[in-house]
């Protein structure tokens, strides 16, 4: 009797484990970005993007014949060390795909961790999808087979911006200000060398680095920019560093042109409106809300309605949409959720994105190349941002093929 009861117990336990394994057939993707601290606004905004994309993919039938995607959020507080803790937590929770974008410091830490982890745990590899960390080193010296980047790297962006500045003869004195970490250093280096090559007549009157995501009062820095006599400012600042810098400029009535990467991020448009600088703040991005495309306009509109909230912060990361759409495609193409197979499917994928642009992933360094737009923020546009009445207007387009730059990446492709 006891013998039979024990078999029943084992059978029940076996059935239960099988059942739980079946329930876990969802494919999880971990979002490892700041949800507190100086970049919380940007991090929360990005999470809304990911949730909206995952909901959309699941509503259209999921991937691999019915499996659903699930986004899991982890707060890395903007710190590289904390990111590693969160990646480990995600791996322990059964997540095989990580995504991150806010902060190249965290991205480099995650990429190196993932490479080492995959080396030591063959068969249990994880992938790292980088949607916004643009330090060039991630696809050059520190490149990895397990890392994919969906945003043009900082050198590409600076090349585009400086090309645009070449013909602007009203630029005489330029001030460079950035965040004191790897990305800020990359921006400053590229800005200095490219300006010297393309506009040797321009005087660089300032080259400033400030602590990352710590400063709440940029008034002293604005005073310095004013004192230098600059007519243009180049900055790669993002998060609170961008919006508060612009807010301080608004407070002191600073009249300069801003050449930025991320002035359109959450909080930025509101700050630009406060400065009153109509079509004098530029950004380089892979899209903005006024790029004509019926599919993308409808998509951005539905996101704004669902997640816009009181602040009216709309869609911003086309690159995340590219990433998730290509991820779904790769899963279906590889017919498997095994990271190694998904990586192989992604490595050389060509993809037509939602605005009809032809993009392609370069297998040698896992960079996605896409059309880049230079836009200015001001009045008179079809769609506005954050209820300010002002929006982005294209002033220059660089086709994907023209953004391609060589890479020094020597990737270890696993067999």
């Amino acid at each position: 009797m006891k013998h039979v009861r024990r078999i029943h117990a084992w059978a029940a336990a076996f059935a239960l484990t099988m059942a739980s394994v079946a329930v876990q057939a969802q494919i999880k993707i971990a979002y490892i970005d700041p949800l507190s601290g100086g970049a919380a606004t940007i991090g929360e905004h990005g999470l809304k993007h990911l949730n909206f994309l995952v909901e959309g993919i699941n509503a259209r039938g999921g991937v691999l014949g019915g499996q659903k995607l699930e986004a899991v959020a982890y707060d890395n507080k903007g710190s590289p060390q904390e990111s590693l803790v969160q990646v480990q937590k995600a791996i322990d929770a059964g997540v095989r795909f990580m995504t991150q974008g806010n902060g190249s410091g965290a991205a480099i830490a995650i990429s190196e961790f993932v490479s080492k982890y995959n080396e030591r745990n063959p068969g249990k590899e994880v992938l790292f999808f980088n949607y916004a960390a643009v330090d060039p080193v991630l696809t050059n010296d520190k490149c990895s087979f397990w890392h994919f980047r969906w945003d043009a790297n900082s050198d590409i962006k600076m090349a585009a911006l400086t090309n645009f500045m070449t013909d602007k003869k009203d630029i005489k004195k330029v001030y460079i200000i950035g965040q004191d970490y790897s990305f800020g250093h990359a921006v400053r280096g590229a800005a200095n060398s490219m300006l010297k090559a393309k506009r040797p007549d321009v005087q660089i009157v300032g080259d400033e680095l400030h602590p990352l995501l710590k400063i709440t009062d940029f008034a002293p820095y604005i005073a310095k920019i004013k004192a230098s006599g600059a007519d243009s400012v180049i900055t790669g600042n993002w998060g609170n560093d961008m919006s508060l810098l612009l807010k301080a400029a608004a407070d002191s009535g600073l009249q300069v042109n801003w050449y930025t990467y991320y002035a359109g991020g959450a909080g930025g448009p509101t700050a630009i409106k406060q400065t009153g600088l109509d079509h004098r703040v530029y950004q380089i991005s892979e899209w903005h809300t006024n790029v004509p495309s019926s599919e993308m306009e409808a998509f951005a509109d539905s996101f704004l309605k669902k997640y816009g909230g009181a602040s009216g912060q709309g869609w911003w990361y086309l690159r995340m949409k590219n990433q998730m759409d290509m991820f779904a495609d790769a899963l279906n193409k590889a017919k498997s959720a095994e990271p190694k197979k998904v990586a192989a499917a992604l490595a050389d994928m060509k993809y037509k994105n939602s605005i009809g642009g032809e993009t392609f992933m370069r297998a040698s360094d896992h960079s996605l190349f896409q059309d880049m737009y230079i836009s200015s923020f001001g009045a008179g546009t079809k769609y506005d941002e954050e209820k300010t009445g002002w929006g982005w207007k294209t002033v220059g387009v660089i086709k994907a093929q023209d953004t391609v730059i060589p890479t020094t990446c020597k990737m270890n492709v696993p067999s």
Binding site: A40, K214, D217, Y221, K224, S252
Partner: protein, 316 residues
């Protein structure tokens, strides 16, 4: 250049006065009770958030009075039911209590108001530029911040020097046991001082909230500087706290304006160092880049050469 100096002075003065609002409460509390209130910056943060919540319902101006009152009451209650009980276990226990309190307040704030900065707006009445000098405008709200801080400072000065309560407080500052022996209700005085100290911190929060971002990290960003001010000024000395706050406010603001690096200084003497030389980044770091850590350098120097602080009368 003159423009830079004038505006840096204004900003430095502003920052210094804000620090003094916070440091005055902290110094009073420490001098009287020997408790270093680690949660002082957290009461500053509470004041900003209470002010924000009140501004959502009735506007900014009622918050200026209500928020410090509310936080002051909370502070008094913390002293009466928390610190007083812990007091008999010694100074370390009191320290740990306030340390834990700081964490609790931060988590509560995150739970109630979320982790993203809240939109605490400058009141419409003050949302214009006060004056334009050399084509740079200065916001009226900052002038208001400055004037409020000066008013509070003068009020505090008058309270301490011209009233009976001030007399008792000053006596308890220097000789608490004697004051108790003379029959004054010292625990009540302690509770009042703690409450008023927290109220001052909250007032600083209501003033600074719209200008510096109101977010859960605001306590952690101002907390360490506060201790530098109190130690540099001298524990037990209100005048020292005043001098130290202004000094550190000015240093931090002016340091940002200086682009000199060690490499530049060495170049004067004929030594060329670049980023590629040994310890390259260290030579190339400008004063502006290291501006945030200069107050801590000052702290270390003071502790080495003059542990009593600039004007203190007790050992740190």
């Amino acid at each position: 250049m003159l423009e830079l100096i004038i505006f840096s002075s204004l900003n430095g003065l502003l920052y210094g006065m804000l620090l003094f609002l916070l440091a005055s409460g902290l110094t009073l509390i420490f001098s009287m009770m020997g408790v270093l209130n680690f949660a002082h910056a957290s009461f500053y943060m509470l004041g900003a958030y209470f002010g924000f919540q009140i501004s959502v319902y009735v506007g900014y101006w009622p918050g200026l009075v209500l928020a410090p009152l509310l936080v002051g009451v909370i502070g008094a209650l913390v002293e009466r039911y928390g610190l007083r009980r812990v007091h008999k276990h010694g100074h370390v226990a009191e320290l740990l209590f306030t340390f834990g309190l700081a964490f609790i307040i931060e988590e509560l704030v995150q739970m109630i108001w979320g982790r993203i900065p809240v939109d605490y707006r400058v009141p419409e009445l003050l949302n214009f530029s006060a004056f334009t000098l050399f084509a740079t405008t200065y916001p009226a709200f900052r002038m208001f911040m400055l004037l409020m801080s000066v008013a509070v400072f003068i009020g505090l000065l008058l309270l301490l020097t011209r009233t009976r309560v001030g007399l008792i407080i000053r006596a308890a500052l220097a000789h608490p046991n004697m004051v108790g022996a003379l029959g004054h209700n010292v625990p009540l005085v302690f509770m009042l001082v703690f409450g008023v100290g927290c109220g001052l911190a909250a007032l600083a929060g209501v003033i600074a909230g719209p200008a510096l971002v109101t977010q859960p990290a605001m306590a952690a960003s101002l907390g360490p500087i506060l201790f530098v001010v109190v130690v540099v000024g001298g524990l037990g000395s209100l005048q020292g706290a005043f001098v130290a706050s202004l000094l550190i406010g000015m240093i931090q603001t002016f340091a940002v304006a200086l682009n000199v690096s060690l490499a530049d200084v060495l170049a004067r003497f004929g030594f060329t160092v670049t980023r590629e030389s040994m310890g390259g980044d260290l030579w190339m770091a400008t004063v502006a880049q290291v501006a945030p850590i200069i107050p801590y350098l000052l702290l270390v120097l003071i502790l080495i050469f003059r542990p009593k602080g600039l004007m203190g009368d007790r050992d740190t």
